[in-house]
Every structure is written in C-alpha cells, then in structure tokens.
Amino acid sequence: MSQFRRDESHAEIERPPRMLIVEDDAELLGEMVHFTRSAMGFETFGAYDYGGAVIHLGQVALDVVSIDLTLPRESGFELCEYVRRLPRLAHVPILVTGEAPLPRDMAHAEEAGANLFLEKPFAMRDLSLHVTALIERPKVSRPGLRFLRLF
C-alpha cells in the first residue's frame, strides 16, 4: 500500500522521496525507517543524534526531515535551526515529534523552523498522514507550524 502518490504537481520528483529521521529511541527509529521504506516507498535515512543528522544533511538531497525534539546532545530545536541555516535545505519541510507539547513548545518549534508537529506517542499511520501532508503541500508555503488534526 504505497501512500505516496505522484500526481501532476509533483512531476519534478522522479526518484522516490528522500527522508531523514532523527530519533534517539532506537526501537522507534527502526520502526519509522522500516515503515517509511516499505509502506510509503521512501528512501529513508536514520540518525540518532545531531551529529549523525548533520552528516546526512550534508550528503543527501532530502525531501522531508523528521526531528525528535529531545535528542541526547544538542536538542531538536537546534537541529531545526541548523537545517534552516543551510541554503540548500532552507525550504525542506520539517516534521518535529515530541511528548505532550504545550502551546509554548509548539511556538518555539515554529520559531526554530519546523512546519508540522506530531505528538508522541503516534501510530505509523499518523506518521504517514503527516509526512504526506508535508510533501504534498503547495510550493508557496504558508507560514506557521501546523498540528494535523487526525480525528
């Protein structure tokens, strides 16, 4: 069941979409990478922390990045800011994940450059909905961090 549709508006993407997932929970990272590869047909890269993410960010042309806010060394907020500072990735959609976000946390995530917030714990189905929403959004991006209502 490939979740990714290639319609007219995305004709420029010929290859499978490339995604980077930064998550310090090894089990969850494995599940997310496996799901996005097998169920969504993505070419997915995984990283456990800021340092690992930076290596991938420097090497791969990414279409979407998923960042956990609580990382072992530098935080996810800082990684978002790092991504936005790279001219090449200044406009790549960023999904951030975190537990029980307060409005304050979501505001900070938005200010750091995130586009969509996914509250933990989430089902893989939620992940696919959020990622699809991010990739399929129009090229002219609207400002603001969104919080997808699933129900």
Binding site: L69, S75, F77, L102, P103, R104, M106, A107, P143, F147
Partner: protein
Amino acid sequence: MSMDKRPLLTVQLANRAGDLAILTLAAFLASFQQGQLHWKVALVIALASSFVLVLLPTLFWRPLRFVGTRLFGSRQVEQVLIVGVGPLGRHTHRALLNDGKHSVIGYLRFDDEEGGARLGAPVLGPIGDLERVLRERIVDEAYFAASSHDLHACVQGAIGVCERLGVPFAIPVCHYRLARAKPAGGSDFTDGYVHYLNARYSPAQALLKRLLDIAVSSMALLALSPLLVCVALAVKLTSRGPIFFRQERVGLHGRTFGMIKFRSMVSDAEALRAALLARNEQTGPVFKMKQDPRVTRVGRLIRKHSIDELPQLVNVLRGDMSLVGPRPPLVGEVARYEAWQRRRLSVRPGLTCIWQVSGRNQISFEQWMMLDMRYIDHWSLLQDLRLIMRTVPVVLLGRGAS
C-alpha cells in the same frame, strides 16, 4: 462546540448496534439458569434494556439538551481574548479550541507585531485598545501570549488594566525553550500559563457557592410556590399586562441576561421613565424614586416586602445570578461606569448584597459601588451565609433598601 453536528438518527442507531448486541447477550446470560434458557424472559430483558439504555437517550437527546440549555444556559463556553498574534498566540488558540470549552473572540496585537493572517479569529486592534475591548466585549479570560521579555513593560500595563476592570488573565509560566527539562513539581501547569483571578474565591469555593445557589434557590422556589402563584394571580387580575417583567441586565463579565421580576408597574412604565428623569432621587447613572407614580397598588405591596424580586430565584437556578452578589446593573448604567466600577462584573450578580441589608436607604452611587467592592474583595462563604440570614428579616419586615 460542534455538539450540534450530530449524525442522522439512523447513523446514530447503527453506531449503537454494538451496544444493542452486548445488551442482548447480557440478557440471555442473565436468563440462563440451571442449564435452562428462558428465552421469553431473555427477550423481554433484552428489549426493555435496549429501549431504556439505547433508544430513549438517542431519541430524546435533542429535547433533553434543549431543556437543559434553556434552564441552565450555555455558560460552559468561556470567551477568551488572546493578546499577541505571534506563534505563541496561534498555538494557544489551537490548544484552547481543542478542549471544546473555550471560544476565542479575537486577538490584540503587540505594538511590534505585524497584522496576523490565518488566525481563525479577528484582530481587534493594538494592545492599547485592551481597555476598550474589555469594556465592549464579554471576556472571561485574557491570555497574554507574549513570547519574549522585551514586552515586559507592555504586559505590565495590560495586567494593570485587567486588574482594574476585574478580568481574569493568564501569563506564560516561562518564555524559555525547554527541550528536555520538566518542572520539578511533577505536574506542569497544564497549558503553560499561570491563571490569575481578580476575585477572592478559588475554583473549589466558586463551585461550593454555585452548589449553595442551586440548593437554596430550588428549595426556596418549591417552598414559596403557593405564595408565587397567589402573587402571579394578583398581578394578572388587578392590572392589565403580563405577570412577569423581564429586563435586560448585565451579569458576569458583561453577559446580558433577562432578569425576571413580578410586574409592579403599569405596562408602559419604561416609556414613562424619561418624563420622570428630572425627579431622580439617586446619584450616578441609576434611576430610583420613592413615590414613583408608575407603581400599581399590588406593586407597592409586593415591593415593600421585595416579593417582586422572588422570581429571580429562577435566574439564580439558571446560573445568571447568585444568591449573594452586587445587584445586576442595567446595560445603560454599565456603559457609563468608570473603569474601577466595572469590577462589579467580575463576580456573578446577586439577589442581595451588603447594601441591601445595611438598613441605609440614602446612599450615594459612589458609596454603593464601594460597598460592592468591599463584598468582592473580602468574600468568604461564611459572609455569604451571613448576608443570606440577614436578608430574610429585612425582607419580612419590609425594611429593605428600595
């Protein structure tokens, strides 16, 4: 919020099919005794329980809710004003909408902020308009969604306005970005804000006060029902016009409601008021007159013992009013209030208050407002009970302030 968007009845019933199946199964199990299935008994139990537990609520939900909102109003939705159109303001708005108990009436802009598109509520002006907005609109709480310390002076000024007008407000617990740290107390402030009230009671005490209102008003209505019926007949039979006089009054945080009295004046009294304004005996924006020629004979009698005010027990039961609290003002009076006088609206209006039992009739508008402030600022449940006790003899002996 979206309670009205209930699906079609057939869809509702289809959704309840699972409940029906479980009930039927339970009925069969219940009638399965000593290895023998009494299927007739089972059928009766299944039908009866399905009817009572599933069909009745589904069929009568709308009428029940209609009666409920008629009786108790729809006070559960709190109206919120958000100050700040930045990311924090927007995300606060979203969090408030998700709990379904709040509606956001609009935003105010901090001076350095830009317009604000895609907010989902109108921008009512710059923060300098706070006092105007709080006076013109019903605001149960103002959220200061300030995301930086640079706004300190600005928010300080706005807090002063809220305190003067008696409007509850919330300020962010912390402006800093926390990637891992959690508050040491364990329980975080649930929405990242500290909430402040300008009234003295805690939410638990407010609930107690409300329960007291419900208990006393319903018992009083029941006990006084013979008297109420007699007075209703007397009013109806001795002069032309309706039994009740319903007047638009201002309640909690500026909400208007229809305050009910027995009609004690001729039916075109409001129109005659303009002609009598020159003979007003009360200072300030209130109109009061001892020998008011518009009062009917029955009216004079029921006014002497404040019986005309008794129907307001229904307002108390509905939650428009409380037993004890500042008397609810007229809309026109509130428009002419000074800022500090508007703080009277920070608590539910009441049937009786300090002035009503003080035994003093000649009192300036200013003094009256001061007494109301004293009530609000020194509130306790005990004081409420004491005022109720002191009101009873005052009413019975007909010595109440007019």
